[in-house]
Amino acid sequence: MIHDFHYLKPDSLKTALAMYAEHEDCKVICGGQSLLIVMRQGMVAPEYLLDIKHIHELSYISFDNQKGLRIGATTTHREIEQSPLIQEKYPVLAAMENKLASIQTRNWGTIGGNLAHADPAGDPAPVLIALKASIKVGSIKGERVMPLDEFFVDYFETAMEHGELILEVQVPPPAPKTGVAYQKFNLLDSDMGIVAVAASVTLDRDGKCKDTRVVLGNAGPTPLRMKNIESLLIGKKLNEKLFEEAGKISSTESQPVADIHASEEHRRHLLGVLTRRMLKQACDIAQKG
């Protein structure tokens, strides 16, 4: 059962950061959809719990053609899923959110909470990394921005130091002739993926691959950005054989962990299949875009 804690409820970001800096053994709760489960199992038992759920300064979705998309940390998954702006400019993001856990969890859980929890099987991270997103974190000492793929360090561990909160997710404007696709393999539609693959492809004027990213979910301690696939594909005319090769890289270079749902060998096989399929899908979208 949950251990006792002192409850801190700041009414603004400023007071929140001050409170967070003040207490050493302090955890942050926002939607709490992941945190409360681990607290109930006694794996996390802080002395202080800082509740930032109702800091409305951090709950927003904005977009402009230069800076691109800005999502506040306490924005709920459902708000992202149902935002007409995101459905239009970043459909893969809205589609991913629609398959994240249940409507109830999406109504209360937040994008900041999800990313801070840093579960390698989390859905948003691979998609956002494929979208070249970065993340703004801040503490009482100041703010900093880093690419999202540098934000995740290990299982359930991020690059944030004590006293730092996630403030905002930043996604560059959608580039022309670009397609992004994401799929997770699971038994039930909204389960976390046994494995997942996000892929983006940008084509240049004569149809060659100008830029690409393939990010594997639940295939290692953090979302894995497959740099070798990028060097394999960039500059080339994409075809089925190349997708096949990219799939091989995913299945050999990933570090999936076997569990009761699937063996390591099956996970590697699936990563290969999904990589091939998502690259093809992203490429088709790019050709149309």
Partner: protein, 767 residues
């Protein structure tokens, strides 16, 4: 559906518990709160097999708020079991004295002022174990050097069942000459009931020696008798109350630790004690569907006529027998269904292992038996180039057939079911690649006859009492666990008495006020309790009509009846009087006494299995991704013969509910163990089907009349769980040509089967 000649039966009547359930008023056991109530928690064994040397509860008792700690020593140490008729099958002390036999088995129980304190107290109980070698798989447990789990039980085999008729060996000899023989091994996994309401009980023992237990039960009478047995009380001094029950599915009619431990604690303290299982406890330390290893050898003529079958089955019985003996017999019995065999031989062996005990679960051995049989038949048809529908029709049971020495079949719509499904499959036309329709047929029982509980009472009883204002009190012993038996009984009572459902109040779930009844299992209640209710209502109507004859003074040749609250001459329906007026007169005529009708039912001259059998054929339209092994179910169509439907809304609910549970058994729900430890005791990793995966479900009702059932009705609860896993396996066989011999059908097993098929093809090519 035929034009309905009944007023209430087969009409879309609202569930009579509906208002309470849709307005949040329905209270379940875990909602029960009593003044001064304490909360209990159970300490469970971390070892699969260990002697209990010493239990030190002193530190736990010192924790402020802890009121009592009990272990096996605080009990009478009686070995209990639901098969009371056979002493050696009653082998479970819920709080064991000398050793624990599965991980999660109760060792001690604490009662405290709050649940949190009780939970903290568990960590303060020191138990000294001597760990013993353990065995987890039946085929290992029967080896000579395997550890002995129950003293005196050689090679851990505690129950064997043998079924045999006809000349099996001659039939096989004939097949060897010019027929065809096929043999296959199958491995069917377990499944957990996973009722949405976990096990719970509130026990309250009072100084006058009476024990009242609120609990989630499928049979209040069973728990009354079982509790009395292990606590040394008279059955009459034990009162079991079932508030609303949150699902049972075969897992809630044996005695469980919540009931036993809360009763022991309450008797020690003379205070009410509530124990509610967490989901994890419910999945680790209860009883599940019996995992079975099947060896099936079948002989047929070249033209598809079935000759003989010889099957053997090892079940992973787990640490204690429970309903293991019945699982063994029924699986073998339904493994021959629904076909006529010249010879049939089945040997079932129930083997003890150091895993959670296995017991009955919806379908009870038939889903496993049908999974092996119906797939092998499909493979045989392929091997011999025969049409599976034709082969099934040729060998199917027919009305009046006697399964030699076992059962008498009266109503049987098997052939019509096959015809209807054949038409439906043809109507679907050609399906895209990697997608196909698999079919499977089976039958099931309407309640069991063999009295393994050794009850002295008739199997079902009912009492109908008519009040002055014409409202009717119906007291029944059958238990509504969600399948709608209260509504079904109200419908039968209203139809028979000639009133409306809203005139009938059903009283069930309280052993103090309701007659004894064996409860909800084996799909028995519609038939057995239904017959009792019909008899009771007829008795009351007969008494009522005596006054009507006197009151109306019409020609003796005429007959009277009551329909929709109107007492009338059958031949001249317009001549009559309102039912409500008749009741008032009848009461005055009986010196103010209410009319009371009694009814009961116990099956006779029907063999040892069941009074009646339902039949069905099901088609599953499934698609599989050959690269990832993922399965998608598009549609399920079932042609179903359950005699006269009584409660149509309930019937559709049973079909769709059974399909959702059977699909889980087919390709979603897995119970992986490592050294006796269940690896997924939660609803995240134990995959119960959700709305997004549930396919469309259709039903074709086949009209038959079962003379043994009330108004011709028979079971529709469990039977529908039996065909689905086999039909899914057959769909994969037609879609990808793979033969699935293990349940559940996981993506990994699909890909492995595909690889094996391709290798076999390569070998054939170059030999």
């Amino acid at each position: 559906m035929s034009t309905n000649k009944y007023k209430v039966i087969n009409t879309r009547v609202h569930n009579i518990d509906g208002i309470a359930k849709v307005t949040g008023r329905a209270t379940y056991t875990f909602d029960v709160k009593l003044p001064g109530m304490l909360y209990g928690k159970i300490l469970r064994s971390p070892h699969p097999h260990a002697k209990i040397l010493k239990i030190d509860t002193s530190k736990a008792l010192e924790l402020p708020g802890v009121k009592a700690v009990v272990t096996g020593k605080d009990t009478l140490g009686i070995k209990q079991g639901i098969w009371r008729r056979y002493e050696e099958l009653c082998d479970e002390q819920i709080l064991p004295l000398e050793k624990v036999r599965y991980i999660g088995e109760p060792v001690a129980a604490v009662a405290a002022v709050t649940e949190e304190i009780a939970e903290k107290a568990l960590d303060l109980i020191d138990v000294e174990y001597e760990v013993l070698p353990a065995v987890f798989e039946p085929l290992d447990a029967i080896k000579k050097d395997a550890p002995v789990i129950h003293e005196g039980v050689e090679r851990n085999i505690n129950v064997t069942r043998h079924i045999e008729w006809g000349d099996v060996d001659d039939a096989f000899a004939e097949a060897e000459k010019d027929g065809y023989i096929r043999e296959d091994w199958f491995k069917c996994g377990g499944q957990h009931h996973a009722c949405m309401e976990t096990r719970a009980a509130v026990s309250s023992y009072t100084p006058d020696g009476k024990l009242t237990v609120w609990t989630s039960t499928q049979s209040p009478y069973y728990h009354q008798a079982l509790l009395a047995g292990v606590l040394g009380l008279r059955e009459g001094d034990v009162r079991v109350i079932a508030p609303y029950v949150g699902g049972g599915f075969g897992g809630k009619f044996e005695l469980d630790a919540a009931q036993f431990c809360s009763a022991v604690l309450s008797m020690k303290l003379c205070k009410p004690v509530k124990i509610v299982f967490t989901r994890e406890e419910d999945m680790i330390a209860s009883k599940r569907r019996t995992p079975m290893y099947y060896y099936v050898r079948t002989a047929v003529k070249k033209d598809g006529t079935f000759l003989a079958r010889e099957s053997r089955m090892f079940s992973n019985g787990g640490a204690y027998t429970g309903m293991g003996a019945t699982a063994l017999y029924l699986s073998g019995f339904f493994h021959s269904f629904p076909y006529k065999w010249r010879g049939y031989r089945y040997d079932g062996y129930r083997v003890y292992t150091n895993t959670m005990p296995s017991t009955s679960m919806r379908g009870f051995g038939a889903p496993q038996a049908v999974f092996c049989s119906e797939q092998q038949i499909e493979w045989i048809c392929k091997d011999l180039g025969l049409d599976p529908f034709e082969v099934r029709r040729k060998n199917a049971h027919t009305e009046g057939y006697e399964v030699p020495g076992q059962a008498f079949i009266q109503s049987c719509g098997m052939k019509e079911c096959i015809d209807k499904i054949e038409q439906w499959v043809k109507s679907k036309g050609k399906l895209p690649a990697n997608r196909a329709i698999g079919v499977s047929s089976c039958g099931f029982m309407s309640g069991g006859i063999f009295n393994w509980f050794d009850t002295p009472y008739s199997f079902s009883s009912a009492v109908v009492t008519i009040n002055y204002d014409g409202t009717v009190e119906l007291h029944v012993g059958c238990q509504d666990i969600g399948q709608g038996s209260n509504t079904t009984m109200a419908i039968i009572c209203a139809e028979t008495l000639g009133v409306r459902v809203e005139d009938v109040k059903v009283h069930s779930g309280d052993t103090d006020h309701c007659p004894a009844d064996l409860g909800a299992w084996g799909s028995r209640q519609t038939l057995m309790a239904g017959n009792a209710v019909k008899m009771a209502a007829e008795d009351a109507k007969r008494q009522l009509l005596e006054f009507a004859y006197a009151e109306m003074g019409m020609n003796i040749v005429y007959d009277l009846d009551i329909k929709d609250r109107w007492v009338h001459i059958v031949a001249r329906p317009e001549r009559g009087m309102p039912y409500f007026d008749l009741v008032k007169k009848a009461l005055r005529g009986k010196d103010g006494q209410r009319i009371i009708g009694r009814g009961y039912y116990t099956p006779h001259r029907k063999g040892m299995i069941s009074p009646a059998y339902s039949y069905m054929m099901q088609a599953v339209d499934a698609e599989v991704d050959p690269e990832t092994g993922k399965i998608t179910i598009h549609e399920i169509m079932t042609a179903h013969d359950c005699g006269q439907p009584i409660n149509p809304l309930g019937l559709v609910g049973q079909l769709e509910g059974a399909a959702s549970m059977a699909l889980g058994y087919g390709y979603l729900e897995d119970m992986p163990f490592e050294d006796g430890k269940l690896m997924n005791p939660n609803l995240v990793d134990y995959k119960i089907i959700r709305a997004t995966e549930m396919p469309e479900t259709g039903m074709i009702e086949i009209d038959t009349y079962e003379p043994e059932g009330p108004y011709g009705a028979k079971e529709a609860g469990e039977g529908l769980t039996n065909p689905t896993a086999a039909a899914l396996g057959n769909a994969l066989f037609h879609a990808l040509g793979i033969q699935m011999k293990e349940l559940p059908i996981t993506p990994e097993r699909v890909l492995k089967a595909l690889r094996e098929k391709d290798e076999a093809k390569k070998q054939k090519k170059n030999t």
